[in-house]
Amino acid sequence: MTDRIVVLEISAIEAVHLSGMVRQFLELLDETSVEGAAPPDPAVARLLPDAYDDDADASAEFRRLTGSDLLDRRRHDAGVVLATLSTGGPELDIVTAEEADLTRAFVLTLDGEESGAWMRVLAAIRLVLASRLGIETEDDHDEEDPRFGIYEWLGFRLDGLVQAVDASH
C-alpha cells in the first residue's frame, strides 16, 4: 500500500474550500448518534444505509453494531485529508489573500493510505451534497445553483485521483 505514491496538484483556493467542506463533514458526523433506526437526516442515512433491504430488524441490529465504528473510520479519513492539506502550504484567508496566492498550485504527495482516505472522503461529501441538492438521477443539474459546481468539481477531483491510483498499480 505505502509504495503506491500519487501526486495531486491543487490550487490554494481549492485547498481552502476543500478544508472547509471536510470540516463541515466532520461536524455533521459529530452531530450524529448511531441507533438502530435509520438516521433522520437523509444525508447521514445515506452514509449508514440499511444492510438488509427486506429485513428492518436485521438492518437495525447491523447499524447498532457497526454504525459507530463506521463513523469513526470516516472521522479518521477526514482527519487524514485535513492533515495532508495542511502540509501543502500555509493556511490562507480567502478574504484577504492576494489573487496570486489563491491560484498558486501546490503539490500533495499521498501514500496508499492517504489516497484511500481522500477518495472515501470525496465520495462521501459528494453523497452528502447530492442528498442536500436532491439529486436523484445522473442528469439532475441546475446551472444557476453554484453548489452543483462544487459537486461536479468534487467528482472531477475524485475521478482524477482514481485514475492516478489505478495507474500506480
Binding site: 438488509y52 447530492a130 475524485l158
Partner: protein
C-alpha cells in the same frame, strides 16, 4: 420396506445438501446510485475484492445498467463484513439470502 429406506436415504442426503449450501447461500449486493462515479465503483471492486480490471469493470457496468450486481457469495457473517466495507467506501450495498430471492 425398500421404498421407506430409499426415502430416508434421500432425506438424509437432502439435509446434508441444505447444510452445505447454507454456508454460501448469502450474497453481497451492490446497488446503483446516481452519485458514485463509475470509475470509483470499479476501483473499489478492484481494490477491496482484488478483482482484475476486467471483472471489476463488468460488475460495475452490471450495477450501472441492471441496477444491482451480486459481488460476492458466502457465509452470512462474511457478506456482512463485505457490506460494511462497501458502506465505508460510500457504496450502497446490502446482504441478501440468495436462496429466498
Amino acid at each position: 420396506m425398500g421404498l421407506i429406506m430409499a426415502l430416508t436415504h434421500l432425506d438424509a442426503r437432502g439435509d446434508l445438501d441444505t447444510g452445505r449450501l447454507g454456508d454460501d447461500v448469502w450474497q453481497t449486493v451492490v446497488w446503483n446510485d446516481p452519485v458514485n462515479l463509475m470509475s470509483y465503483v470499479a476501483h473499489v471492486f478492484r481494490e477491496y475484492f482484488g478483482f482484475d480490471a476486467e471483472t471489476a469493470s463488468r460488475l460495475m457496468l452490471a450495477v450501472h445498467h441492471e441496477g444491482h450486481a451480486v459481488v460476492s457469495r458466502g457465509p452470512r457473517e462474511q457478506m456482512e463484513l463485505h457490506t460494511q466495507a462497501m458502506h465505508d467506501y460510500g457504496l450502497w450495498a446490502t446482504v441478501r439470502n440468495g436462496a429466498s430471492s
